[in-house]
Symmetry: C2
Subunit: 454 residues, 2 copies
């Protein structure tokens, strides 16, 4: 492969709070999958580069209905809960966990079941434009290896974690690690497995150390995982201060916040992703910010399981690294564009408040709202920053992870009115109205991984 | 036409808070478009009825991936704002209204523009399964007539209103009724036009008296419209206590609440639909409940323009008639299934509160949440009750307005796992994950109005 060039309208958000839309842009991608140049029509080299690409037969031109956007980065997915997407959400948390989620996760002792579900999941996320996915798998080593295999096979950039949950007080007998020692051994085995996978070029798929959350782990497991993350230079993910219950549980058990406790176990690093973090304090934020750890804001599932909206604006103002997650299946959608929409809605609910019986000035928290540009930034460049990856924007040196959005498909919810909509309007319409069927091609690391036009 | 029968899985919510799912149900529809019988496999007449329908060649059998649900009822749509769906939502309300929405609505002085937009809108709503739509048009008589024409032509059950907005203080010079008298004359002319339309069988399309809201209308216009609604036995729609601003404005101008003021103008009747009503007081609720007026809860647009969540549970507990609206384009989606999802999210935000800095017990309003069954009831049977229509459920005597949902389409977000999902699970998955491309056929008044399988 010698690389290729794409010409058409590109839309991305390299800087938070603004958007960059270029019509007739020329994006050059090298043989190694990295972007080499992004040219605008008035750049001096544009015409020559265009002609060269055309002559070399490596130019693809987008049609007027088509738009090229960065691939979406989903920072928080419970892969085994995929069959449960959009169901059981009417149940209280305890029933949801004990009667639905844990029994479902326990099924992954069967690797054939894992293959069936994970194949569907990875394909569906790619079909939604998710080019990077951060996965909690289950406590099972083999099934978790299968998830990594599916990511490699389908070409999705993935962080995959074997879940550690060894505390007999909080985890069911039929579904937990037998001991802290075994959980740690299997975590190391999993890291080595993923790093040795055939075809894992550019570290497309990486292992991630994954204590489920403090309540389900023994202190031995937590400190052991902190050491493994350090020794193996490995990413970390866990849940942090998601709900009133979780936040209080950790305060009771360790006499400090979730964030502080995780930090003391060595689990908060530049390469950590903390899911939710709705109840983090100001000192927690400072700690997270100083280390440069990331937060996976999951606005949709927060409406169901979190008792509050993540204080996103406060976190962004402190310079924290924040991205978005679907939190499948606590969230009922696999679409990161849906996550963008719910992130805006949640931020506005926080700003204005929700209870009309309260006076306007006491109802919400001023200046909390984000707009579509900030939401899309979270879903792309922000997520990339949290993961320390060079993806999520169109710029030289960044990996080419992208999706082609087409407004001209049958049954499109995305409608463009050529005489009424500016290119910036179309960008906003994509964020607010595009659905899975508008996403026609997906590239990861410069390679087409899904082509619905074929 | 001699009627027809459908056999397959039906899913509906005739009683709020429960769902009724029947596999291999037999639904018989008469030549007049009304449901005559709904039989379950263990009903005594089932086998005979099935055999008769089969012999007569009037039986359609759904496949295992297909589900029959009532058509969706959208109680609040600004038809002229259709080209603006999903854009301009980053702007403050004043800019949104003055720089985007009013200039757009003014374009409908051109009926060719109206034809172009309204044709697209009615088709798109049908494609989303919306069988009944309650429309604000614009202040233009002719363009509003064209919207009624498009509903008739495409077979959508519609309530269409010429918007009245005559107050020079609040409406722009380039877009308002010239006088109260002209607004009233045109309202009567529109009522007569719609009632005389060719092909308006079963009153498929009806006129609806439509003061935009109190701030944009003179008292003369408001009292005149109240008289017209009474004299012409006509439905009424308007906005009511949507935001802090609107609620305060009416208190200042009339010294009473929106609801009380509208009632005093004769605008609150059994056939009134009040959009939003977020800030209605307890006495307002009692007034609305005593009259049997309806409320169009628009959860998605409320996140953008309303400063609070509608106190749905309180309204339902008082027995008010409530349904859902998309509020295009204050809401960014044409899908009433999306409206269901945002209704659940909003209700949970109200219950739990949003600001993590507050103590849990002071953060929200207890018992506010609804589940998917109540949301779907609002979008079907609840909306029908608000409009006083016999639609929204599968029962003898009800009009057959329905949609066929198919989980087997390409690029489906709705995934069914036959060995893991009960039929009730599938119902929940449809409410939470089905998209426009899952809706394959739509019937209104017993006639197929859209068939994507053809």
């Amino acid at each position: 492969m010698t690389g290729f060039s794409l010409r058409g309208t590109i839309m991305h958000t390299p800087e938070r709070g603004t958007c960059d839309v270029v019509e007739r842009a020329l994006v050059e991608v090298g043989a190694d999958g990295a972007i080499t140049r992004v040219l605008k029509p008035d750049d001096a080299e544009y015409e020559t580069a265009l002609e060269e690409a055309r002559t070399a037969g490596r130019l693809t031109e987008l049609s007027g209905n088509q738009y090229l956007l960065p691939g979406l980065i989903d920072l928080h997915i419970h892969a085994p809960q995929w069959p449960q997407l959009g169901k059981s959400l009417h149940l209280p948390l305890y029933d949801w966990l004990q009667n639905c989620t844990f029994p479902l996760e326990a099924k992954y002792a069967d690797t054939a079941f894992a293959d069936r579900v994970y194949g569907s999941l990875v394909s569906s996320l790619l079909a939604n434009g998710t080019t990077t996915a951060v996965y909690f798998a289950t406590a099972h080593l083999e099934a978790t290896q299968r998830l990594a295999d599916h990511c490699i096979e389908k070409g999705q950039r993935g962080f995959v974690g074997k879940v550690v949950m060894d505390d007999p007080e909080q985890c069911p007998d039929y579904y937990r690690d037998a001991s802290a020692a075994q959980a740690l051994d299997e975590t190391v085995a999993f890291i080595e497995y993923v790093r040795g996978l055939d075809g894992n070029g550019s570290e497309l798929v990486r292992p991630i150390v994954t204590p489920r959350f403090i309540p389900s782990c023994s202190d031995d497991a937590l400190s052991g995982l902190g050491a493994i993350a350090h020794d193996h230079k490995c990413h970390v993910q866990t849940h942090c201060s998601e709900s009133d219950w979780e936040h209080s549980f950790v305060l009771d058990r360790h006499g400090k916040t979730d964030t502080q406790s995780l930090a003391d176990f060595g689990l908060i690093t530049r390469h950590t992703v903390l899911a939710h973090s709705n109840f983090i304090s100001d000192p927690d934020m400072d700690l997270i910010g100083n280390v440069g750890a990331g937060i996976a804001h999951c606005p949709l599932s927060n409406f169901y399981f979190s008792n509050a909206v993540f204080p996103l604006r406060a976190a962004l103002n402190k310079g924290l690294h924040v991205g978005l997650g679907t939190d499948i299946s606590g969230g009922h959608s696999a679409s990161m564009l849906h996550a963008c929409r719910y992130a805006v809605a949640a931020s506005r609910a926080l700003e204005d408040g929700v209870d009309a019986a309260l006076a306007a000035e006491t109802r919400g928290r001023a200046n909390a709202r984000i707009d579509f540009m900030e939401a899309f930034w979270l879903a792309t460049a922000g997520g990339a920053q949290a993961l320390d990856l060079k993806v999520g924007r169109f710029a030289p040196g960044y990996r080419f992870d992208a999706m082609l959005v087409d407004a001209g498909v049958e049954d499109s919810s995305l409608l463009v009115w050529d005489d009424l909509d500016t290119a910036e309007d179309v960008f906003q319409k994509i964020v607010y109205t595009a659905e899975r069927n508008n996403i026609r091609k997906v590239w990861v690391d410069g390679i087409i991984r899904l082509d619905k036009t074929a």
